[in-house]
């Protein structure tokens, strides 16, 4: 046992996690809360599919359906997929670039807690008189027309968690730019780091429009402004633009890190370097760039006119090119390799054809005149679940299995992993393939029921059956996690063997300072390069010395909690006298914490050289 990690009681461990600024622990926080919200969102999906299993079903009522539908989309995108991605970024990126920490440990923790309290607030609607019910896109006219407070939960909840996301994005950008180890040039960064970088840049520019949209809609609902009220001269199309200027880059924020995961997993288990590394980097940047000029493809039927529609249609199609480059590079990474079908590899391999199917329907949607037919039908639902579940979720599953040993020090069971894969993968195609046809056959999306005799029965039933398989797969995964944390095999530093990137050069889990000595990077696939030259590990770039560490802090949690409180005040201010005081108290808490943070100097502490030398030999050594 190391001198640094003594056995602690439950209370101490809890306190440790509440105050931690260690990126590896924050990763676990993201993973756990994101995983929880994934189950919630999945449960909501199951309700949707049960309701739609047969025509004229009355399993859930019309109003409730809209709430479930909205919360499914919102939860999955904002509270499940993004945080899970952040979880892996936090767990892996600093180690991959040979850093001891992120650029802003305190802000990192603040980002998490903002997300957490935002998500909590969003879900409060369920208990306080109604969840949001205007779809995850929350189009203005319907949202302003929606009675009760559901929409307000959406607006305020996303606003809070959005700030968290923005902070996380800035943190990763600064980390990747400033904290790379000696020799880790941009063109030697692993692809997961690259995609994190680009996705963070997208966050930086995509979230502000959402912030503005949410804020002005909140003004409309809470203070009676007229941005989206035609009677006052307002215009609801503004919301659509603001939402999609955010919304389209958002889908690339989700998929790019998943691409990054595949780009790390595929070479690892093919034992080959990534084919066309520089074109992969280029394609990533290009996708991010193009991602900002195509948003109106969600608005083809809004009536923007043929010129706008034509421009956005062609611009959208262009994204097929860089994405195609990636697809082929992945396949040629495996070409000539020695492919080992571990669970992460199976997910990654299965991703390729699945995602291509989702991507090409995207191109079909991009053809404006035909989108007039597809738009707001199940064809679109099929498209985006193919790219999101077939791309993002599969990426997350791959990443989960791949980095689980790095995060927790134990392997996940391979056999159960395969069972999860088979169930989920079969269920996935069963659920969503048929939906293409349902859409074309005239089934609009977001309908709580459909009438018998319109030819839609069979397809919907099949779709529901598939969803149950996915649920079964997920449950097996949970089982796998439980079982293996009890009696899983202990993972070595290089848990899978043949590791290529720096995260495999440190112990599993990594020590809190990641590297005893900052490693010297001498090429792409830093660890692999050393191994090929017969070295056991990384060459250090500095002598052993004291390591500077940041102090933990409870302030981020309290700061976020303040906004959580203030949001309640805002929500109820027009009907309860306590509204305004609560707003003031809430903001007071937050500002107070900011004030404390700025006046209390925080210089962190040092882990001394002597302690490092006594420390368990195999921790972070090879660096």
């Amino acid at each position: 046992m190391s001198t640094l990690t003594q056995k602690k009681g439950f209370g101490a461990v809890l306190w440790d996690y509440l105050t931690t600024v260690d990126h590896k622990k924050i990763a676990i926080l993201y993973l756990v809360s994101g995983g929880f919200f994934f189950l919630v969102g999945g449960l909501e999906a199951m309700l949707i599919r049960i309701q739609l299993a047969v025509p004229d079903n009355d399993f859930i009522s019309a109003g409730l359906y809209n709430e479930v539908l909205t919360m499914h989309g919102t939860t999955m995108i904002f509270l499940a997929a993004m945080p899970l991605i952040f979880g892996f970024m936090n767990a892996v990126v600093p180690i991959q670039i040979g850093a001891r920490d992120v650029a802003f440990p305190f802000l990192n923790s603040l980002g998490f807690w903002l997300f957490f309290f935002g998500g909590l607030f969003l879900n409060m609607g369920w208990f306080l008189g109604g969840a949001p019910d205007a779809g995850w896109t929350n189009y203005a006219s319907l949202a302003l027309n929606s009675p009760g407070h559901g929409i307000d939960f959406y607006l305020l909840g996303l606003q809070i968690s959005g700030f968290g996301t923005l902070i996380a994005g800035i943190n990763f950008l600064a980390t990747i730019i400033n904290m790379r180890a000696p020799g880790m040039t941009y063109m030697r960064m692993p692809l997961f780091t690259w995609t994190t970088f680009v996705a963070s840049a997208l966050i930086l520019f995509a979230f502000p429009p959402l912030t503005v949209g949410l804020a002005i809609m909140m003004f409309d609902r809470v203070f009676g402004t007229g941005f989206f009220v035609p009677e006052l001269g307002g215009n609801t199309i503004i919301w659509e633009h603001l939402f999609w200027i955010f919304g389209h880059p958002e889908v690339y924020i989700l998929i790019l890190p998943a691409f990054g995961i595949f780009s790390d997993v595929l070479p690892h288990f093919s034992k080959k370097r990534l084919f066309g590394y520089s074109s992969m980097v280029f394609a990533t940047v290009l996708i991010g760039f193009l991602g900002f000029m195509v948003w109106a493809h969600h608005m083809f039927t809004t009536g923007l006119g043929p010129i706008a529609n034509a421009i956005f249609a062609v611009a959208t199609m262009a994204i097929a090119v860089p994405t195609g480059i990636k697809i082929f590079n992945w396949m040629f990474t495996m070409w000539g390799g020695s492919i080992r079908f571990t669970v992460p590899m199976i997910w990654s391999v299965a991703f390729i054809p699945t995602f291509v199917m989702g991507g090409v329907t995207g191109i079909m949607l991009a053809a404006a005149p035909t989108d007039y037919q597809y738009h707001d039908t199940y064809f679109v639902v099929a498209h985006f679940h193919y790219v999101i579940v077939g791309g993002v979720v599969m990426g997350l599953f791959a990443g989960l299995h791949y980095w689980w040993p790095k995060m927790f020090g134990k392997m996940l069971g391979e056999k159960l992993g395969v069972v999860t894969f088979v169930l989920f993968f079969t269920g996935f195609h069963l659920t969503f393939f048929i939906q293409h046809f349902l859409g074309l056959m005239g089934m609009p999306r977001r309908i709580f029921t459909f009438l018998p005799g319109q030819g839609l029965e069979m397809g919907n039933l099949i779709s529901t059956v598939g969803a149950f398989l996915m649920a079964a797969g997920t449950i097996v995964l949970l089982w796998n996690i439980i079982i293996s944390s009890i009696k899983g095999e202990k993972a070595a530093g290089d848990a899978w063997g043949d590791g290529r990137n720096l995260e495999w050069a440190v112990s599993s889990p990594a020590p809190e300072y990641n590297f005893k000595q900052t490693p010297l990077v001498r090429g792409l696939d830093a660890l692999w390069v050393e191994r090929m030259e017969g070295n056991k590990g990384m060459t250090p770039a500095e002598p052993l010395g004291d390591i500077h560490m940041p102090n933990g802090s409870i302030l981020p949690l309290i700061m976020s909690f303040g906004l959580f409180v203030a949001a309640f005040g805002l929500l109820y201010h027009s009907e309860h006298a306590w509204g305004i005081p609560v707003v003031i108290i809430g903001f007071g808490i937050t500002l107070g914490c900011m004030f404390l943070r700025s006046i209390i100097d925080d210089h962190g502490y040092h882990i001394h050289k002597e302690d490092l030398m006594n420390d368990d030999n195999d921790k972070g050594v090879k660096a």
Binding site: L173, V212, T225, G233, G234
Partner: protein, 207 residues
Amino acid sequence: MHVEEKLTAETFPASPEKSTLEGKNKFLGFWLFLGGETVLFASLFATFLALRNSDNGGATTQEMFELPLVFAATMLLLTSSLTSVYAMYHMKNFQFKKMQLWMGITVLLGAAFLALEIYEFNHYIHEYKFTITSSALGSAFYTLVGTHGAHVAFGLLWITTLMVRNAKRGLNLYNAPKYYVASLYWHFIDVVWVFIFTVVYLMGMVG
């Protein structure tokens, strides 16, 4: 070099804001933040532009806006930008007192600007019944200009806190980046204002 080490003019580095890792991170992170703020304000500007004629039958911008007032406000803010440059000049020369002084002047100018803005809003509300709820134009106007005003107010709070907190202990490598970043923020506010007086007020006079 420890961040709180007492320095002299000789040992003080040329770019104090970037001579520690924390400073470098702060510097970079803040610029990134400004990139995001650009888009935030752009969204507000865009919304304003889309709604600039939606006066709902109320007073139009041509009727309300008074150029002398806007001009005065502009001069105040532009000058405060220069005074904060002076503050940074003295920081680089390791002249803490002078830096504090110029920062103080910046704060005063900023406060004067804010006062003018409050007067202006008040004027519109009482004279023209032009409020944030009277028309979409009103909503867009007050939200855009008000967001800028809120930035000014936050900047004042921030700089004041910095000045008070560090008044006794002088300049070191721990707080130099903080001052630097605060002055960047202040310039940025000025940049936004340049577009506000151009796009909102001047263009509002043309119609």
